[in-house]
């Protein structure tokens, strides 16, 4: 497969992911509204919001980092997509594996932070105290989430003796019982709990916490910047779900499967969010240090003997 075809597939894949991200977001809002007995936003709303945002007539800038923050964020989202094998086609060189040959699970784990770090820098330059507060919360929670997640990732890597996501997906092919969910239940459980934090919905949405710290890091962002960040957010949500799908739920052999699985994964976090109110940061951190961490440690320990 030559590089141009690969590039074309990748761009196409990104468009799918982006739009699926918007749609998924709208769907979740819709589901939430329906649960509250409302009609909810139209499905097209995210796209409208995007167009509106990027077309504001006045734009301000607080400085160079404020400016670059959204770029980091979007690059983070796109990069995550680029380094993630999306759809399993039986060949590591397949059309939807993007640039995942350049790195493996470790790359994804660390690149995950790229956007967050950039965002943190950008928001910092704005000088808004709420932005900084949101970031401190976000980083603290991120750390707490990553500990069980890392343990679970390690467990899975030990299980399949590889860090390559493609190989992990490959190993889970051939029936639902080959999924990590069943072959390595502790790791799966740790991931399922920890990803609530990773996806950042209630009760772990104190990073944004509208009306408390005015949606945190993004509080100063408007217009085009906000549009970039919405795109990045949509991409990142899908990509997080795809990551967990690849690791725990057997990956996807087609875009449809990907859409269904990522929807369900994402829905799990929204579903939990519907039920639970927001945690304070110390509650959130300690929560991850209890059951998810224990599960993560168990997931690793079973491979030590």
């Amino acid at each position: 497969m030559n590089i141009y075809a690969k590039l074309a597939y990748t761009i196409l894949g990104f468009l799918i992911v982006l739009n699926w991200g918007f749609l998924m977001g709208a769907t979740m809002r819709k589901i939430g509204a329906r649960m509250a007995g409302r009609h909810g936003i139209p499905f097209k709303q995210p796209w409208i919001n995007l167009f509106k945002s990027i077309s504001t007539r006045t734009v301000i800038t607080h400085g160079i980092m404020y400016y670059i923050g959204p770029v980091f964020r979007l690059t983070g989202g796109i990069g995550l997509f680029l380094f993630m094998p999306m759809v399993f086609t039986g060949s590591p060189d397949g059309p939807w594996t993007n640039f995942s040959f350049e790195g493996d699970l470790i790359l994804i784990m660390y690149f995950n932070v790229f956007g967050m770090l950039g965002m943190a820098l950008g928001a910092g330059e704005g000088g808004h105290p709420y932005a900084a507060m949101g970031i401190t919360r976000g980083l603290a929670q991120h750390a707490a989430v990553e500990l069980p997640l890392t343990l679970a990732f390690l467990s899975i890597a030990i299980q399949f003796d590889t860090f390559s996501i493609y190989k992990i997906v490959e190993a889970q092919q051939g029936g639902i019982m080959h999924w990590v969910l069943f072959t390595n239940p502790f790791a799966a459980a740790a991931i399922i709990l920890a990803m609530l934090g990773a996806l950042g919905h209630s009760p772990f949405n104190l990073v944004k916490a509208p009306n408390e710290i005015l949606i945190g890091p993004a509080t100063e962002y408007e217009g085009t910047y906000l549009g970039f960040m919405m795109s990045a957010g949509a991409t990142l949500h899908v990509m997080e779900a795809v990551l967990f799908m690849n690791l725990v739920f057997g990956g996807a052999t087609s875009w449809l499967e990907l859409i269904v699985k990522s929807f369900l994964i994402y829905f799990w976090s929204v579903f939990v969010g519907m039920v639970f109110p927001r945690f304070k940061i110390e509650q959130s951190v300690t929560w991850f240090f209890k059951v998810p961490l224990l599960l993560g440690v168990l997931a690793v320990i079973i491979f030590m003997f």
Partner: protein, 240 residues
Amino acid sequence: MSELDLNNKTSEMLANSEANVKNSKKNFTRPEDEKREVVAPDGSIIEVNPLYDYFSNEKPKEEKPRGGVVEKFLNWARAESIWVLGFGTGCGSIEIPPLVTPRFDMFRYGVQMRPTPRQSNAFIISGYLSVKTLKRVIRTYEQMPSPKYILALGSCTINGGMYYDSYSTINRLDKYIPVDVYIAGCMPRPEALLHGFVKLKQLIKEGKAEKANEYARNFDEYKANQKKIIKDWNMPDYNW
């Protein structure tokens, strides 16, 4: 008024405020707003003017619509995505929360609440507006990105209503900031507010909701009015 005059006025204003601080406390100038001196690490003295130094000193500019199909499409998008600043300025703000309930559900019209003016394009001024609150409203309004719209909710915003002769409330909102849609009543019910949104959407789609440009165009006039009513003007002239 030319820009030069304005600058003169600003400095005059500042000088006045200084003199006032010295002579009387009539204008209630806060000590934080006085000029102060700080010592730099290398020992030199830096004079800080809190009302001037920290703020962008530039007038808002008029942003012409692009026109054509693009503008039409964008206006449609703006109309379908009205982000309201959640800022209850007066008595009527209690009428806003019902809009998110299943009974009224403003989301289906593409109307959402946003916590920060940077991300909002609609501002509901609800009920009477005290002079004190007007300062905040002005700053918030000027911070919102253009195009931006104001919905005036209730009679008091039209002519002062029952507070028409109060010393502390303003009795005609559009002298101070431009209003796109008035929603009459004391108080109007949430349905009326929803109607106001529909009206606003209609105006936007027709390209008639360009009050932000009007404000920029007549900025000096508005500013003069604002200063007239706000006796203790202790804020920057330009809010970004």
